[in-house]
């Protein structure tokens, strides 16, 4: 019995840590666990986990961009915000159906993202990072000041999506949509990074010269990377506004972009499961765990301090991200035994 359970655990963990092929099963399994959650946890925990999912989606896009194409963007929050306002404006003010609004809301940020991608041919490294920051700052000012569209500092609300007038979703229903988006995106991303496109992106990151010599069109792949990163970010923005039923200018600030960056660094760059893990750490650790600890939760700000320390400690000791811990643990548990057994 014990042996069987160990084997099952082993299978599951190894697959999620990308050691064995076909991680679809694991992603789906993970999805099912997420879907069951609403029946277990209370409402506000669900909201927290919903946000985790939203930010995980945006972080997956940034992971593609930073981890694979080596381009760094601090504009994620701006793009998320833009799509969230579009989604809210289209569904609430103009009564567009959910999917139509999703398409349009995602289209505009992606065009902007492509623009940044074009620019990335001329501006690189930290210049690009700060240039994207400037783009996000401009967008945020627009969110603040273009009141007719954004509601200014009062923010703007939206409803839970209403799909084809058939499914009038409630919070749990919207949550399930979030989970579906996350899992589908995880699978698609997994496919992509294992494909020639993924290799081309990595090559471009490692060496411009080698990439070009091997026939990789830098412009094309930078555009792809930016398009996907903004696509993910803006999907996340749309989901955010429908799940939280609101959007507000100061959410979409530099801090959020940095947090999303923190997700992939803490979770593990170039790792899908790492990114999701990172999102859980960054966006739920403080709320679900730290604040529940009696002493820490009571003193305002203390949980922030502890979390700040934690981030630094993780980066100093696990530069490859937390996913590395899992892999190490699993390796030390299973592989050694396997080797012995096979001898």
């Amino acid at each position: 019995m014990a042996i069987i359970s160990k084997k099952i655990i082993k299978d599951i963990f190894f697959k999620t840590s990308n050691i064995l092929p076909k991680p679809y099963v694991n992603y789906l399994l993970f999805g099912i666990i997420l879907v069951i959650l609403p029946y277990i946890v209370n409402g506000s925990t669900l909201l927290t986990i919903g946000s985790v999912i939203v930010y995980a989606i945006a972080a997956l896009g940034l992971n593609l961009l930073l981890g694979y194409s080596g381009l760094i963007s601090l504009g994620t929050a701006g793009f998320m915000g833009l799509s969230s306002y579009f989604a809210s404006y289209l569904t609430k003010d103009l009564n567009f159906p959910f999917f139509a609004s999703l398409l349009i809301s995602v289209f505009i940020p992606v065009i902007l993202g492509l623009l940044v991608g074009l620019v990335s041919l001329r501006i690189e490294g930290y210049y690009l990072a700060i240039a994207t920051l400037a783009v996000a700052e401009i967008l945020r000012r627009i969110f603040e000041k273009f009141i007719a569209f954004t509601g200014g500092y009062v923010g703007k609300t939206a409803d839970y999506p209403n799909i084809l007038n058939v499914f009038m979703l409630d919070r749990e229903g919207t949550y399930i949509i979030l989970v579906i988006f996350l899992i589908v995106i995880m699978i698609l991303t997994h496919n992509l990074i294992q494909s020639p496109t993924g290799r081309a992106l990595l090559t471009m990151r490692g060496s411009d010269a080698a990439a070009q010599a091997m026939g990789i069109d830098i412009l094309k792949y930078r555009l792809i990377a930016f398009a996907l990163a903004t696509l993910y970010a803006s999907i996340a923005g749309v989901l955010y506004v429908h799940f939280n039923e609101l959007t507000y200018p100061t959410i979409w600030n530099l801090g959020l972009s940095l947090n999303i960056l923190a997700i992939i660094i803490i979770g593990g760059i170039r790792s899908i499961s790492g990114t999701v893990l990172g999102a859980f750490v960054v966006y739920s650790f403080s709320d679900l765990i730290l604040k529940e600890i009696p002493f820490i939760g009571e003193i305002p700000g203390l949980s922030n301090i502890i979390f700040g320390v934690l981030i630094i400690v993780i980066i100093l000791f696990y530069p490859q991200g937390l996913i590395q811990i899992f892999k190490n643990i699993l390796k030390s548990i299973f592989i050694r035994k396997d080797v012995k057994a096979s001898e």
Binding site: N42, G43, S44, L47, T48, S51, Y89, D93, L94, I108, I111, L112, L114, L115, L118, V119, L121, R122, R141, E144, K145, F146, I147, A148, F149, G151, G152, Y153, V154, G155, T157, L219, Y240, N244, E245, L246, Y248, T250, I251, D287, K291, P300, G301, S303, N304
Partner: protein, 433 residues
């Protein structure tokens, strides 16, 4: 007029037991909003401590719970749900932060939970005739749009100013106030003109906006901003020697601000602030000061506008409670709070009867006294009508319908720019290769 305690616990509404009433709020007690949230909650707690020490209301003590939402509306929304559904509070007291309030207004209405005191002057709280699920909303603070109008009225009444300058922040407080200011200036007629300048809250340089005031030669300057921007703007006015009387919102009628600006301003120009609280009533102030210091242990809070606001929030909730007839339920509470006008401990009163949800409509005028570092009472409490003889108290907001065209225009612009840049980059690349 006594509330009878039901026999079986099952009959109690949420948040009520035989000995306790649980109320709560979500406020920022960490991060940037902590400056407001912590003293505010301390004020509420101080009032409840006082009530509890005196035996509570009808044998029930008040249990005040609160959670930190870090001024993040998404967290605030979660927190409010927590409060309503998990903590099962009876009422929200001191609902905090404009974005969170805007985001949760529908939720709390749907739930039907009473909300007493909003730490915001959001225009959508204003309702002249609340019925149905809108009934549970009890704004206390003045609505910003109304305040904007009041400031103009005061400026005109005090100095007969024709050319009114206004510097406002781009946040909700500033933009709502400027709406009221524009509105009132328009109403006054053609001989009155408005010079307005928007500034970003938390900017590090306000000199351009102030220079504009100077260039235009305005008669008075209205500083329609939150506290963080008030100090630097006033300092800049002094620095550039604009030296025109300044009027500002009740938000800034805070003793601690005087210390920050008095060295710069000196006697160069007078500064007036609206006030919906009257601090000249020494009894009320002393009571507040002793209680808050005893409860929070922070002497500074005795002169803190936010803790005073919290105190008022506690007061309004308790006064409503005292008026309840029969079993304590949400409906009976609403009936109770509407049953008679409730006096503000620091002057003025609010009447919630017949669905009136107008917030404070009358304000006094204070004048900054730099020698004693206090806001001295200058004019007593009055409403628009008594200041200027203006009888129209409504808040006609000007909502432009141009939004859609701008949006479409913006979208087209982005697409066109993207196209142009694409072709430029392409052709450039062809050149380079």
């Amino acid at each position: 007029n006594k509330t009878t305690v039901s026999e079986t616990e099952n009959n109690y509404v949420q948040g009520i037991t035989a000995t306790e009433i649980k109320v709560g709020n979500c406020a920022a007690t960490s991060g940037a909003g902590a400056t407001i949230g912590i003293p505010f909650n301390a004020g509420i707690q101080a009032y409840f401590d006082m009530v509890n020490d005196a035996g509570g209301v009808n044998g029930r003590t008040i249990n005040f719970v609160h959670e930190d939402d870090e001024f993040d509306p998404a967290k605030g929304k979660q927190c409010v749900e927590d409060m309503m559904n998990d903590e099962k509070i009876f009422a929200l007291v001191g609902h905090f932060g404009t974005p969170t309030i805007a985001a949760t207004l529908d939720d709390v209405k749907e739930k039907g939970i009473p909300v007493v005191y909003f730490a915001s002057g959001l225009a959508s709280l204003y309702n002249e005739n609340a019925t149905g699920e809108d009934r549970g909303i009890y704004p206390v603070q003045p609505i910003y749009v109304m305040e904007g109008r009041l400031i103009v009225a005061r400026a005109v009444a005090e100095y007969d100013s024709k050319k009114i300058g206004a510097i406002y922040t781009s946040d909700d407080a500033g933009t709502d106030m400027i709406t009221g200011i524009r509105n009132q200036v328009n109403k006054l007629g053609d001989e009155y003109t408005l010079v307005e300048q928007q500034v970003t809250p938390g900017a590090s340089d306000y000199s351009a906006a102030v220079a504009k005031m100077k260039q235009e030669g305005v008669d008075v300057v209205i500083v329609a901003t939150i506290q963080a921007s008030f100090t630097p703007i006033v300092k800049e006015l002094a620095k550039q020697n604009v030296n025109k009387p300044a009027f500002t919102s009740y938000i800034n009628a805070d003793g601690t601000l005087i210390g920050l600006v008095k060295d710069d301003v000196g006697t160069k120009f007078p500064i007036y602030a609206n006030a919906w609280v009257d601090v000249s009533d020494t009894n009320a102030v002393t009571l507040f000061a002793t209680e808050i210091v005893e409860s929070s242990g922070v002497p500074l809070y005795a002169a803190n506008a936010f803790s005073m606001a919290g105190w008022i929030a506690g007061h309004y909730f308790i006064e409503g409670l005292k008026n309840v007839d029969g079993d304590l339920t949400w409906t009976s509470y609403m009936d109770g709070i509407e049953s008679e006008p409730i006096k503000n401990p620091f002057g003025g009163q609010i009447d919630y009867s017949n669905g009136k949800r107008l917030g404070t409509q009358e304000m006094s005028l204070l004048k900054m006294d730099v020698t004693t570092s206090t806001w001295a009472a200058h004019k007593p409490i009055a409403n628009l009508e008594s200041i200027l003889g203006d009888t129209d108290l409504g808040l006609d907001e000007d909502k432009s319908s141009l939004g859609l065209y701008y949006v479409i225009g913006g979208v087209v612009l982005v697409v066109v720019v993207a196209g142009i840049v694409y072709f430029v980059v392409k052709s450039k690349r062809r050149d380079e290769e």
